[in-house]
C-alpha cells in the first residue's frame, strides 16, 4: 500500500546528526549482504529502509518495528561505498520515531531505568553486599546529575508509546 508521501522527509533526515549522508545511497545492497540481523530475519532490510526514507514514506518508516532491529554492529557502515553510515541513519530514524511517539517499549523501559537510577542495570543493596564479599568497592545506588540531565532535555517526560510493542 502506498501511503501519503512526504518528499521532504529525506531533507529532514539529512539535516539531523547521523543522517547527513542518506541521499548518497545508490541502492547497491552492500548493507544487506553483510548484515548479521538480516541473515537471521529477512524482515530487517536496511537497504529498503533507506529507500523508503528517500521516497518520503515518513509515517511507514517511523511507525515500523524494523527500525528498532538494527544491532548497531557497524558492519554495513565499514563497507558502504557511499559512506551512508547506515547505523547512524537508523539511529536518527529512531530518534525521530520517538519524537512522533513511536518509541519501542523496550527503549521506553531503558529511559525509565537510566532516568531513575542513572544506570541501565540499577545497583541494589544485594549487589553491593555481593561486591563486598568479593572485595570489590561499593557502587552508589543512584546518580542525581543524570536525573537533572533528563529534565534539561525533557527525556524525563517521555512515557510509553503509541503503537509499538
Amino acid at each position: 500500500m502506498i501511503t501519503k508521501l512526504d518528499p521532504k522527509f529525506k531533507d529532514e533526515v539529512s539535516k539531523l546528526p547521523g543522517g547527513q549522508n542518506i541521499k548518497r545511497c545508490f541502492q547497491c545492497g552492500t548493507c544487506n549482504v553483510g548484515c548479521p540481523v538480516r541473515e537471521i530475519e529477512e524482515k530487517y532490510n536496511p537497504r529498503k529502509i533507506i529507500r523508503m526514507t528517500v521516497l518520503g514514506m515518513r509515517e511507514r518508516v517511523l511507525s515500523s518495528n524494523f527500525i528498532w532491529l538494527c544491532s548497531a554492529c557497524y558492519t554495513c557502515q565499514e563497507r558502504c561505498p557511499q559512506d551512508v553510515r547506515i547505523p547512524e541513519v537508523m539511529n536518527t530514524l529512531k530518534n525521530l520515531a520517538v519524537k512522533e511517539g513511536y518509541i519501542h517499549s523496550s527503549f521506553a523501559k531503558r529511559v525509565e531505568l537510566v532516568g531513575t537510577h542513572g544506570k541501565l542495570f540499577p545497583i541494589s543493596q544485594f549487589d553491593n553486599t555481593k561486591r563486598e564479599e568479593l572485595g570489590l568497592p561499593q557502587i552508589p545506588l543512584e546518580n542525581k546529575e543524570v536525573k537533572e540531565l533528563f529534565k534539561l532535555t525533557g527525556l524525563n517526560k517521555l512515557s510509553s508509546a503509541k503503537g509499538e510493542e
Binding site: 532491529l69 554492529c73 558492519t75 557502515q77 544506570k119 570489590l136 552508589p140 546518580n143 540531565l149 532535555t153
Partner: protein, 291 residues
C-alpha cells in the same frame, strides 16, 4: 599507566567475575585503575532514543574524569565506543562542545575536551604490550584452543577508533591470546555481532545470532570463547543454556573474559579470577590446564 576505571552498568551487577579478574591483572601488570563514584551510565542505551541526551551523559562522565586529570579505561565495548566517540567529537568540534557545556553548566560541570578513552584490552595491547605480557607468563596455556569474539564496539566504527584495529580482520585479541601460549582459533563469521543490543527488542533474533556464532566456534574445535564485553558475555555465557534448551543443541563452551584467561597464565588462581562464577562450568577446562 593510570586510568579512571569506568565500570558501566552491566559489569558491577552481572559480570563481577570479569571485573574481579580485570582488577587483579591490572595490579599484577602495573596498570593503576582509579575508582570513580561519580561515573554513571555511558549514554549508549539512550542513543537510539535521544542522541543529545546520550552525548550529554557521555560528556558528563568525561568531565568527571577530566576533573581528576585522568584518561578513561572501560571494561565494556558499549561504554568504550560511546565514550570514545563523544571524546573525539568534543575534542575537535568547538561549537558542539559549547552547546554541550551550556547544558552541563546547569548541573555544575564543564568539559574542556581533553580526555581519551580506551578499552582495557586496548590498554593491555598498546600500553602494556604483548611482549611484556609474554615475559610475565608463569603458566603457559599451551594446548588450549581459544576462539576470540571481539564484539562490535571494541573496534567499530573504525573511524572513531583511529583504525587501531582492522574492522574486517581484527587481530589484537588473537595476539594477546597467542602471547599466553594458547592457540588462537579462526572460525567462520568471526566479526559477526553477538546480538546483545537487540535482545530486549526481539530475543528470538538476538539468540539466533548468538547461536550461529556458538555453532561456528564449536565447529572450529575451540575449548573456550575469549571476549572482552559483559554484554557479549551475557549472550554467550548467561544465555548459552537458554539457547541450548530452546534448540536442543549442546555447546558446553566455557566463556571467559580476556583477563580471566590472562590471569591464569600470570599465575593467579581460578578463584581469584572468579572462574567459579562463569555460568558455563570452567572446571573441565581448568583441569585440562592442570588446575
Amino acid at each position: 599507566m593510570k586510568y579512571a576505571f569506568f565500570l558501566g552498568c552491566l559489569t558491577p551487577v552481572m559480570a563481577r567475575h570479569f571485573e574481579l579478574s580485570a582488577r587483579k591483572v591490572a595490579k599484577k601488570l602495573g596498570v593503576k585503575l582509579v575508582d570513580v563514584e561519580d561515573f554513571a551510565c555511558c549514554g549508549f542505551p539512550i542513543m537510539s532514543v535521544d542522541r543529545e541526551t546520550a552525548l550529554l551523559m557521555a560528556a558528563r562522565n568525561l568531565s568527571v574524569a577530566e576533573d581528576l586529570g585522568l584518561d578513561v579505561c572501560t571494561v565494556c565495548n558499549g561504554c568504550a565506543s560511546t565514550l570514545t566517540e563523544a571524546s573525539k567529537e568534543l575534542m575537535h568540534d568547538q561549537q558542539l562542545r559549547d552547546r554541550v557545556n551550556e547544558k552541563l553548566k546547569k548541573i555544575g560541570r564543564t568539559y574542556k575536551g581533553n580526555v581519551r578513552v580506551k578499552h582495557f584490552a586496548r590498554v593491555l595491547y598498546e600500553d602494556v604490550g604483548p611482549e611484556k605480557i609474554k615475559s610475565q607468563v608463569k603458566n603457559s596455556l599451551e594446548g588450549l584452543k581459544v576462539a576470540s569474539h571481539y564484539g562490535c564496539h571494541y573496534l567499530k566504527p573504525s573511524s572513531v577508533f583511529d583504525k587501531f584495529e582492522d574492522p574486517e580482520f581484527p587481530r589484537t585479541l588473537d595476539i594477546l591470546i597467542s602471547a599466553l601460549g594458547a592457540e588462537a582459533v579462526e572460525y567462520e563469521d568471526k566479526i559477526h555481532c553477538c546480538g546483545g543490543v537487540i535482545l530486549d527488542v526481539d530475543d528470538k533474533i538476538a539468540l539466533a545470532m548468538a547461536q550461529e556464532k556458538l555453532e561456528h566456534i564449536k565447529a572450529a574445535g575451540a575449548n573456550a570463547i575469549n571476549l572482552i564485553c559483559p554484554l557479549c558475555g551475557s549472550m554467550y555465557d548467561r544465555n548459552q543454556r537458554v539457547i541450548e534448551r530452546r534448540s536442543g543443541a549442546t555447546y558446553n563452551l566455557p566463556v571467559l573474559y580476556y583477563t580471566q584467561v590472562l590471569g591464569l597464565a600470570l599465575g593467579l588462581s581460578p578463584e581469584e579470577l572468579g572462574l567459579n562464577m562463569n555460568r558455563v562450568k570452567t572446571s573441565d577446562l581448568l583441569s585440562k590446564l592442570g588446575f
